[in-house]
Amino acid sequence: MTLTASPSQMERRSDEQHLIAGKRRRRIQDALTGYLFVLPALIATFLFGLWPVISGFYESLKSGSPITNRFVGLDNYVRSLGSLTYVFLFGLSLIFILLGYQAWRSAWTAQRAQGGTLWHFVIPGLIGGMGLIVLTFNLVTGSRDFDWLPLALLLVSLAGYFIAETLQRERTPALWRELAESLALIALGGLVWIVGRRIEVSGLLAVARWIVLLAVVGWALSRVLPRMGRFEYLRYATASLMMGLFMLLGILLAYYSAAELEGDVEQAQEIAARIFNPTVANARVQVPADPAVIAGLNPPDDLIVQVEIGGETIEAPLAPEAYRSLPPDRLAGLIAAFVNNQRVQVLLPDGSVGEGLITGLPMGERLHVEIPAEDAQILRETEIYSAMNVGETVIRVGGRTEPLRKQFLAALGASLSLAAIYTINHTRRQLDEEERPRLVRRLGRLRLLLGVAIAVLFLYLVGSVQLSRQAAHGMQALSLDQFRLAYRYVYDTAPPAILRPEILAARLLFWPQLFLIGLGALLIGAAYRVWQSAQQRETKLGFGLTILLAVMMMVGGWLTISELPRTIVLGGREANDTFNALMRTAMYSLGTVPVQLALGLFLAYFLFSEITWGKALYRVIYFMPYIAPSVATATVFLVIFKLDDTSLANQVLRFFGLQPVTWLKEPTGIVRLFYANILGGDPLNIPAALQGPSLALTTVILYNIWVFAGYNAVVFLAGLGAIPSELYEAAEVDGAGRWSRFRNITLPLLSPTTFFLSMLSIIGTFKAFTHIYVLRDQATGKEIDTMSVHIFQQLYAANDPGYAAALAFVLFAVILVLTLVQNRLAREQVFYG
């Protein structure tokens, strides 16, 4: 307020201010009410809807069983997907980095219009992103070690934002004062909070401390946050925070995955290097002709236990016969643990053998005894393996593989060079060649240099990948016995049970597969770009050549990506289970969604246009299955599709003159069944890949159609109601028939509904659980276990929550990808009026 204003002016202004203040107060009040109203739902949704996604991811990194609930890193994912895990993770980190780039890019575009220096915000953004990541990490793991760190980081980043904002403006003393004030407030709030929480007090004082802390921090926040809200360049701040968060997340994820991958592969590489060389290949070793034996328990002399025999407690050595009854076949040794109240045989002082219960061990402790097996008496000499066996080349190069770290660096260098070339191209296009000819020329030379570097690095990578593959194939060629012999020959001990040649081979292949799949994806992506650019070519020859290039790249990409199935096979039993469950889910989806959509559309169309009398009744009937409890209806299906000949489904079959079938217990595909039972051919003529969903799964599909057709019809009805009737009238006047009206008006105008329904149904089939869980039982086996049921079984029956969580995230990723792809397709196909 200025001093020179006249009284009337002052009055008016104060009125205005009053009004503005009132408006502002009301706005604040409104906002507070809004937050208050949303709060309960927000808390519940956050606690049980959103937070679980983050904490569930952490769960998936831990070993499942409640007893050994420890951090195992990516093991669960590797169990469920094999090396595909790493493909996904590197892809994910790439997506994060791209998201960060996009946030930055959008702010960059804004900068052109708004001015200001975006670069000032980078450091606070990075620090803030780091703070958020550390905060989430602390919350998820519940770690208390560095609980001050995230807050400190966030405060530093906040202060940084204030500084950056101030730097944008015209510098006046008032501005500096304001900045100093804000920084002091931030520092004060942070210090009070961090120090205050560390003071150890108890009782009422603790309550008082909390009140003081909250009051001080709340006051500081209430002063600082509105100031931040008045930032001119708030947009830069949020963009830089997003950029920092996503970039760091992407880099951390990539680094973590690389470290995990290296950890997995390193040991395999080392073993390969040591067991594949001419010395081992030519060595002759002595092997027992008989299996190893444990002749008896020969405990060390000092192994004396307290035993209760006939109410009397004595100390005596364990008798050699204690473990006679064990089958000694193929045992490399015996590891036994004794607990209290276990019945054992001991040597009595008089030399005889007595039996009694162990006592005197401390509570909950075990007595461990290790007895190596006796070496067999008869030995024979043999070669461990011949070079022919594992491949000459592996032996010749001595099982050598390039260290993974080097290959990572090479791959990183190649991709950075690629990005640099891309940037250079972009810059050169922007530059005016006549204005700065030297720079353009230099950039051209640099590009050439980078191209050469890429070629060299690529050759190196291909060579080392080939080495890894050779070693892996050699490893695969070994039998378990050969591997054990070689291992024992090199290391002088037996290999741990967990090390098996096929596991080592799979690990050796992790990186080659990752590399090839990544390369394939890159090639296909590049092919897509080339294909698009073909349209810009002017000559026919140029067009043809570009198309040819694109096709070749696609074929090449496809060939490299076709490593995928092999990856899954090598991933072991669990990865196979995952893959089968996913395939079953896909089959279920494909079998259900089109039929149910078509049926729903058909019902809705008839209900809408033809049925005049009893419309409500039909709707009620067709909709009933959807609303009925699925446990109840699935149970009825269980009865209808019973195995016996007298079940309703089999009676219907008999009515049509067909043989009864074993519905839910029938793992044969329906195409094969149709071919065998109706056409009368040999079912084995139909290849397994073409046999379609199994009859068991088909039964579930029938159930799904029955349930969802009515639901689809109701949604379609709403869509049909929204189509203006004038269109039909006009078409009728023009003489369009029923079919052409349906084809040319109804279908296109319904496409948003169709798209919505198809998306929902596909996701629904991927989430489907209840009815399948009711329809399955022991005898059904895994034949109808779709992904959701598979996950639930891992959680509930196998009690392996960590693994189940990992599988759930795999499912989540699949659903997300499907949604994105569908959205993409919809943009081209759906007509939104």
Partner: protein, 440 residues
């Protein structure tokens, strides 16, 4: 109301031609029988029969005897219901006695010849005989346990139910479906109360109140739709277990230190006396929350909180209610504001009465969602005490084995409340589905 649900209502009532009729000369349309229409009717009716068939099969199987089921019959061959009052002594009489005295009860006279022809059966008591029979048999005891009334009107009677409906009595009484049923009713009631409260408030805020970050928060809510249940199932179980551990172990240990015990002694004891007098002491599974002996222990697992608390907010309900609230004209709010009403008052006095239909719809969907839930109850209930009916039926599926009639009777018991609710409010259901395309 009519303007709010345009697409569906038009689709339902078939009022599309009405608009056209107004522009033409109003006259009654002659009924034209088109062959295509007849075909459509026939097809639709056949389809409807196929769609109803499983429900029909459920009911008919539940009424059939084992013999009928193995023979694969369509309808029950025996009677469906005979209810006869009997005494304990009558049940224990042997059939030989009845033959001798010639006083066969009505429900046995139909099989008299069978008994007369077989010596082995004659030696059986009525009770044992009925149990060996292929058709349904159940005992119902009706007893008056109400304290005051008991003295005035002592009542203790025993009936036998013979025929198909006996399976329902057996499922209800002996297979614990009554327990499951009322568990589900209680869980649904609690969930509905909580969810409706949170959803109405949140939906109103999202529809009417301007506050910074509104769109962001709303998209956060919507994001939960895309998260598969399986992802949240595992961490949620862990979280509920943590709550359980806190309220059964950590919290009881600290109550003395926090002064809660003293406070309870002062405040809760009088209340407890009242509650005790009303006979409600364990109504909400709070255990001994109001008694002062020992600390408050509030188990979550295998208790109602585990089944209710995770469902206290529903994106579906919020979305549906918000859609509805947004269609209420702005003028109403302005008028209310001029009259001095705040948000809360406006919400309760004007918005809620207008949108009763939408609220009812969300309640119905919540009810059905709770009634149908299976995977979550499997994870958090271990005993029959709080097992809801879907899980009860699922567990019974493995127990019942070959007693398909009992299993189907259980299914019908599970189905009936939902169907009743649906038939009474089917319009709300279809509108709700058409608005959001989702089930609760």
């Amino acid at each position: 109301m009519a303007s709010t649900t345009t697409p569906t209502t038009r689709a339902q009532s078939g009022s599309a031609p009405v608009a056209r009729a107004q522009t033409l000369i109003p006259r009654r349309r002659p009924i034209v029988i088109k062959p295509f229409r007849i075909v459509v009717y026939v097809v639709m009716t056949l389809g409807a029969i196929v769609f109803v068939l499983p429900f029909f099969w459920m009911v008919t199987t539940s009424l059939q005897s084992q013999g009928d089921i193995t023979r694969g019959r369509m309808f029950p061959s025996n009677r469906i219901l005979t209810v006869t009052e009997v005494t304990e002594t009558e049940l224990q009489r042997t059939l030989q006695d009845l033959l001798d005295s010639g006083e066969f009860p009505g429900y046995l006279s139909a099989v008299r010849g069978q008994i007369e022809s077989s010596n082995r059966q004659r030696a059986l008591t009525v009770d044992a005989y009925l149990r060996t029979q292929r058709y349904g048999y159940a005992e119902v005891r009706i007893r008056n346990d109400i304290p005051g009334l008991k003295n005035v009107w002592p009542f203790d009677k025993r009936y036998v139910v013979v025929g198909g409906l006996a399976h329902y009595v057996e499922a209800w009484d002996e297979s614990n479906f009554s327990r499951y049923f009322f568990n589900s009713v209680q869980i649904a009631a609690l969930t509905i109360i909580g969810q409706t409260a949170t959803s109405v408030l949140a939906a109103y805020a999202f529809a009417r109140i301007e506050f910074p970050g509104r769109n962001f928060l709303f998209s956060l809510f919507l994001a939960t739709i895309f998260i598969p249940t399986m992802v949240v199932l595992i961490p949620n179980r862990k979280m509920v277990t943590q709550f359980h551990n806190f309220f059964t172990a950590d919290f009881p240990a600290k109550q003395d230190a926090w002064g809660i015990t003293d406070a309870r002694r002062a405040i809760a004891e009088p209340i407890y006396r009242l509650i005790d007098a009303a006979g409600l002491e364990n109504f909400l599974g709070l255990g001994d929350a109001f008694t002062v002996d020992g600390p408050i222990v509030w188990p979550w697992m295998d208790n109602w909180p585990a089944l209710v608390v995770p469902f206290l907010a529903s994106t579906f309900s919020i979305f549906l209610l918000r859609q509805f609230f947004m269609q209420i004209p702005e003028d109403l709010w302005d008028a209310a504001r001029i009259d001095g009403a705040g948000h809360l008052r406006y919400l309760f006095m004007i918005v809620l009465p207008i949108s009763r239909a939408a609220v009812v719809t969300t309640i119905l969907f919540t009810f059905i969602g709770t009634w149908n839930a299976l995977e979550w109850p499997i994870l958090v209930t271990f005993t029959d005490r709080w097992r809801p009916i879907s899980y009860g039926l699922y567990a019974f599926k493995t127990e019942a084995g070959s007693d398909l009639n009992l299993l189907m009777a259980g299914s019908v018991i599970t189905l009936v409340p939902v169907l009743v609710v649906y038939l009474f409010a089917q319009r709300q259901f279809t509108e709700g589905i058409a608005t959001t395309g989702l089930k609760g």
